[in-house]
Amino acid sequence: MLLAGCGSKSLRAELKQAPTQVAGTDIALLNHLLDLENLTIAAYTAAIPLLSGEASAIATQFLGQELAHAEGLAGLVKAARGHPHSPALSYDLGHPRDDHDVLQILRVAEDAQLSAYLEAIPQLKPGAVRQAAAGYFANDAQHVSVLRSALGQPLLAGPFVSVQE
């Protein structure tokens, strides 16, 4: 198939080219995004043993990608001479009764990320940092779309990424 993540470069290549100039004022924003990535990583990690078949495969694929996002964001924080936040020791993610509930928890986690990225992207400087965040954001938008479909909802919600209330 065409393109790595729709682009012509692999994720490893993109991370190697990650911006080295990161503003100190971006540290708080980036760490907030990292906090949410860590939460989502915990959610996928907890979800995978509870899922089966295609849902399990989706969660496994997305977990790998969220881990890459966290690594990238941590790298940006370090480039700004900040200290990347560590994951919490544990997260109380609720009491899912079935696959549907598990997928809904994942969907909520991804939505929180989308909301945070949309707040952060206009504020991040320089432009390369904004691009880095947007690359992760666009991937998370794909995650939401696939999870929505797995939950029996329409694949495409609207012409502009919006977050389910």
């Binding site: 020791l89 109380d92 928890i105």
Partner: protein, 212 residues
């Protein structure tokens, strides 16, 4: 107990932001003020940014119009059927909404949007400038059409990815990000039609930057 971690603990509801919106905006305006060189410098800088935003908007509209043309051409070919037609119809409606929103933003800046392609050759030329793989001239099968649609979505993602460092208006930046996310969703959706059930082909990698 469903918990991410070995020790179940109470996790407070996620806050919307570690810093309040006021604090974040205050930091942004403070740094902008420090960067200014005086009233005239700030006005000149704002005017330049305004002109740059208009140029970027015009470029994005050009790409979107070529994409709309591609969708219309492919849908008119009759090669798509069933779920593929439904998805393409839906995505086309969203691409048109993108054109509408961006055009409104450009008008608000006193500029006129570019005209879209009026022929297949023009559309191919515009898309080729963004590394289009293929042509809209001969659409021979559903598979070929779906690969073209995936490709135009990759071009769309790339256009917004390239635009983000160039835009200065925060409202435009957010809009560009929102659209970029949707274009990525379109690509995944077409990937799902081409590779049903194969998530590794549908959402292959964790960094989505399109063709750029």
């Amino acid at each position: 107990m469903f918990s991410g971690g070995s020790r179940p603990t109470t996790f407070s509801q996620p806050r919307r932001s570690k810093l309040s919106r006021r604090e974040l905006l205050g930091a942004t305006f403070a740094s902008s003020a420090l960067a200014g060189v005086g009233g005239e410098g700030l006005v000149a800088r704002a005017a330049s940014a305004h002109a740059d935003d208009a140029a970027v908007l015009s470029s994005l509209i050009g790409v979107e119009l070529a994409i709309v043309f591609a969708y219309e051409r492919i849908l008119a070919s009759g090669e798509l059927s069933g779920a593929a037609t439904q998805l393409a119809d839906e995505a086309l409606a969203q691409e048109r909404a993108h054109v509408t929103r961006l055009t409104a933003e450009l008008h608000a800046r006193g500029q006129t949007p570019p005209a879209g392609p009026s022929s297949v050759a023009e559309a191919d030329k515009e898309l080729d400038a963004h590394h289009f793989s293929g042509s809209l001239l001969q659409l021979t099968s559903q598979g070929y059409c779906l690969r073209r649609l995936y490709d135009v979505e990759a071009i769309a993602v790339g256009a917004y990815y390239e635009a983000l460092p160039k835009l200065s208006d925060p409202v435009l930046l957010r809009t560009a990000a929102e659209i970029m996310g949707v274009e990525a969703q379109h690509a995944a959706a077409f990937g799902g039609l081409m590779h049903p059930g194969n998530i590794k082909r549908i959402v292959p990698l964790g960094f989505v930057a399109g063709k750029h």
